[in-house]
Symmetry: C2
Subunit: 269 residues, 2 copies
């Protein structure tokens, strides 16, 4: 099986494109998978699902659930409700995985916020099980600890998944978030049987910005092939998402982007 058969286009890589454009470009360029973001479904997951399936594309994941921590109990309840909606949307899209970004501490201490994440996942796990949607716990790079995710290492994601002890609680490995970690290889091996996704991009030097700093594969220092082979060796054979937040790519996104992704994917992943 060619690696290209695992290639998934994460729609955030070309943020200016409508879902229609994303689907058309994927089909014209033989991408088998697309990854969707909730805020880009125009509130209508059923319609998005019909569009994607009519094009014979598969959805690799839906981004995102999580964001559990909040200053008040009321707000934390709202987050749970929102996660239930996200699980439903993932099911409608036939996305096997809902990516979980845990959220920042939001006024809690780090320790309390981390406990809130675990509690939140425990609460929505039965919904995920019922819907047949895997909660894919994605650790984010520690530079996002204050603003996006109190879950910052694959070890932590593995610990949480272990505590949840369900085939519907797994982890997502994104190279941009984990490449620096001295324990990453060991934690990938530990994740055997519960890897729900693998995302690629690159870390350019110098990093141009905190949120929009990701680069095309090959334009940075991440040992992409080594990480992909480690994930494969740990038993993961599913889709590989290309997920790049980069202002230049967003500005210049045209059909050539799809060809460039395929070329770099083959060369570097």
């Amino acid at each position: 099986m060619s690696l290209l058969e695992r290639l998934s286009f994460n729609q955030i890589t070309a943020d200016p494109w409508s879902l229609e454009q994303v689907v058309r470009n994927c089909v014209e360029n033989n991408f088998p998978y697309v990854a969707a973001w909730r805020h880009k479904l125009d509130g209508d997951a059923a319609k998005a699902s019909a569009l994607i399936r009519s094009a014979d594309l598969r959805v690799s994941s839906l981004c995102r659930g999580g964001w559990f921590s909040a200053p008040t109990a009321d707000e934390r309840r709202q987050r749970i409700t929102d996660n239930r909606i996200a699980i439903e949307q993932a099911a409608q899209l036939e996305a096997p995985v809902l990516v979980i970004v845990s959220g920042p501490a939001n006024g809690q201490t780090l320790e309390d916020a981390r406990a809130t994440v675990l509690d939140g996942l425990l609460e929505v796990l039965p919904d995920a099980e019922k819907a047949g949607v895997i909660l894919g716990i994605e650790p984010l790079h520690p530079m996002y600890a204050a603003e996006r995710s109190v879950v910052v290492t694959l070890k932590q994601a593995n610990d949480i998944a272990e505590q949840l002890a369900s085939p519907y609680a797994q982890v997502v490995v994104d190279v941009f978030h984990v490449w620096w970690d001295p324990d990453v290889m060991q934690q990938i091996e530990r994740a055997r049987g519960r890897i729900a996704g693998f995302h690629v991009s690159d870390w350019p030097v110098p990093l141009p910005g905190i949120l929009m700093g990701r680069a095309m594969m090959g334009d940075g220092v991440i040992e992409l092939r080594r990480l992909r082979e480690a994930v494969d060796a740990a038993g993961y054979g599913g889709p590989i998402e290309v997920e790049i937040f980069n202002d230049e790519i967003w500005k210049n996104a045209d059909d050539s982007l799809m060809k460039l992704i395929q070329q770099r994917f083959i060369e570097h992943v």
Copy 2:
């Protein structure tokens, strides 16, 4: 003993100031310690040392040695030589600690670069022992992994110090670099007996930049007191350095900076 008796002014916090200005401001404001940077000694550590000692100030540390990894064997030799010079300068300044920033991979793989760091430290450790200067291995935040330090967690620094097995190989804990780490409390406890320094600043939200993003204590989300108490509980009673890289502070640095540091130090550290 008041916490202020442990306060050290890291001269990079007011980068525009000459060493003379730093020393004068420390004395006038009763700071007992100052922390020095090599590139601000004007190549004359003996003269700097005389200036500092004539003011009855103590040096908490010299920054920095390390930066071991390089693309060629020749360059790696030069780095060793440079570390020997740094150790000598620390001894001249009567700095008990030379802060070690390991450096980026510089064209090596992460694994090789990390081995190079350990090899480099092993090679210069006898010089440090002879000079009576502690090598203080400082893990940097993982967002600096590509550009400044392949040592990114306190666990890694502890592992290295353990392997070096000398009272002259210890670790430095900087809150900005370690606050996000789910293992930080456990690793601080593990560092008992080999903590050579404690540095404070804060992590503002949003973070304005990668290098210059640090904030004054109290202007961010780091649980400063909790970390300081953990370090104290692990037996550290030495100087606490205020080390802030922040454009606004640099631009506006005047005597009021020293008062603000003292106030925030008392309130938040």
